[in-house]
Amino acid sequence: MDISANAVLRDHLWEDLSAKPKDQRPTVGLVLSAGGTRASAHIGVISVLTESGFPIDIVAGTSMGAIIGSLYADGKAPDELRKLSLKMGAATGSNFGPWTLLEYLFSQKLFSSKKMEKFIKKELKDKRFEQLKKPFACVAMDINSGEAIIFREGRVAPAVRASMNLPGIFKPVEYRHRYLVDGAIVDYVPVDAARLLGAKWILASVTENDFTRAKPTNVLSSMQQVIDIRGAMILDAQKKAADFLIEPTVGNVPSAGGTALYMTPTPWIIDQGELEANRLLHKAEESYILFSMPAIAKDLGLVTK
């Protein structure tokens, strides 16, 4: 048991702050970045935060971060998220198969991500955003205007599908009179979406690609690489906009899971999220305490016996 001065004061302030009702402390937003397979490390981050009792009031995500974020916002426990993600494969989110692959190769017909919508619809029982246990937002890009479209109302499943709809591989999703593709191109770490929902202090889990060393070996990983490079151009500013960052060391993991078509999370990737979140947990608590000091000070003045 660490009973150094720093540890005991942190513990003293944290026990009080984390137990406060939502309306008596700054709203905490958890932002889950894009990153394809790498982004499954978010599950490890969520696992550490929930086990330690870290309050999370709002969730926002892009692409794979949107898939994990929506399921978490609906109340799925980290263990369930882990099991679900490890069941994911190429066929979970696409109509990938021999025939569609031939069509893709010879007639340039794009795959469909309709199955991802069905998957999310089934897992969330086709809920609307406002029916989720925690406020949630996800981001897609309008392929006609290049705008980042932040979804925070209506049905969740089509919005999440749009958010992970990789351009060049999947057909754009037609939704609310827009043609939508993966939001990672314009909003890799959707801090803005969490702010829009009312988050005051934001912890972002970022699974950036170390593309300087990556060697894409297939169409998908090349496409994902381009998205990651585009995302990296705006990433620095987005990272600075967050109040605390957890960056699991998964930069060397290919976005599209090697040769598979899409998303093949592994226990190792999830563990990297858990490792890094554990390493930084107390720092995150300290950051939130310092940010919340006006709320703490208000209470300190009421202590009497």
Binding site: M1, S4, N6, H12, S52, G53, G301
Partner: protein, 314 residues
């Protein structure tokens, strides 16, 4: 401490690996002399006898045993790098030798190379699913890395085989506490205490009581003579903070003043006095106390918290 505990359990005379090894080595033993030297603690002579020139005369299990003796001898004479080299080479040449794997795993674990040690302990468990030493190794590794549920699983497996070790119960309780499973944590800590009274366990129980909101019990535990002798001023300032949490402001002030008698510039004592002043509406007094924390380490959390609180005050 945990790693030393594991070393004692893993390589001590009660080790099941040791026992199984002794069965193999009870026949005609070309390493009998080195074994004797090793058992007598004459490690330098073991190293001298089993130098690289000598090792070439051994084969199979004998060579594996020679690597083990040399590795252990280097380890006991504090040449950890050399010990590591012998274990690694031995484990590579004899991948099925679990004693070498265990020694290597343990040394890696002791050196904080947890992710390297983990697969070796797992390998031992594949051969011996109930091996308590390997379960304990994994329990400690997972606790250090923060994989708390996995750590709990392996502590439980260890305790099935080694139910009377107070330290293992205490470490198990600490992991449960981090998982905020306070009832289970208290049961484990009480079991540890019943096996061997230890102020560290009493401190754990005090924390558990306080996390559960039983401040009176927690604070009274901090007053126990054993905690006082082990922790001294650290327990006293903890008491001051917990008294504040229990809204016993006057007592908290007295405690802070006691701390200041021993350590006049203690930052936590200043904090307690500042918080007490705030509770009485004495904002400028609180600011003064917080200002005194500036003397402490500027990058510390206590200093940053004092600054943030000062800025938040009118």
């Amino acid at each position: 401490m945990k790693r030393i505990l594991l070393a004692l359990v893993l390589l001590g005379p009660s080790s099941s690996l040791q026992a199984s090894w002794n069965i193999f080595s009870s026949h005609k033993d070309p390493l009998a002399k080195e074994k004797e030297l090793f058992q007598e603690g004459r490690y330098k002579e073991v190293i001298k006898n089993l130098n690289h020139g000598q090792l070439q005369y051994y084969h199979g299990k004998n060579l594996a045993q020679a690597y083990f003796y040399v590795g252990q001898s280097y380890e006991y004479t504090n040449h950890l790098g050399r010990a590591l080299g012998f274990y690694e080479l031995g484990a590579k040449l004899f991948p099925n030798d679990l004693r070498l794997a265990a020694a290597l795993a343990l040394l890696l674990h002791r050196s904080g190379l947890e992710t390297n040690a983990e697969p070796l302990f797992k390998k031992i468990l594949r051969a011996h699913p109930n091996n308590a030493e390997a379960h304990l190794g994994l329990a400690e590794i997972y606790a250090n890395l923060g994989f708390l549920n996995r750590s709990v699983h392996h502590y439980q497996k260890t305790l099935q085989s080694v139910p009377e070790n107070a330290d293992i119960w205490r470490h198990y309780a600490e992991v449960l506490m981090k998982l905020r499973k306070f009832l289970e944590a208290e049961n484990a800590a009480q079991k540890s205490l019943s096996l061997n009274p230890d102020p560290k366990t009493e401190m754990d129980i005090a924390f558990i009581q306080r996390y559960e909101g039983n401040w009176a019990k927690a604070i009274s535990l901090l007053d126990s003579p054993s905690i006082d002798s082990q922790y001294g001023i650290k327990a006293e300032r903890l008491k001051g903070l917990w008294l504040l949490e229990d809204k016993q402001v006057s007592k908290a002030v007295l405690t802070a003043k006691n701390v200041q008698k021993i350590s006049p510039h203690d930052p936590i004592a200043y904090w307690i006095l500042a918080q007490a002043a705030l509770s009485r509406g004495q904002i400028s007094k609180a600011k003064n106390e917080l200002g005194l924390i500036r003397n402490s380490e500027k990058r510390s959390f206590v200093y940053k918290a004092a600054q943030a609180l000062t800025k938040s005050l009118p």
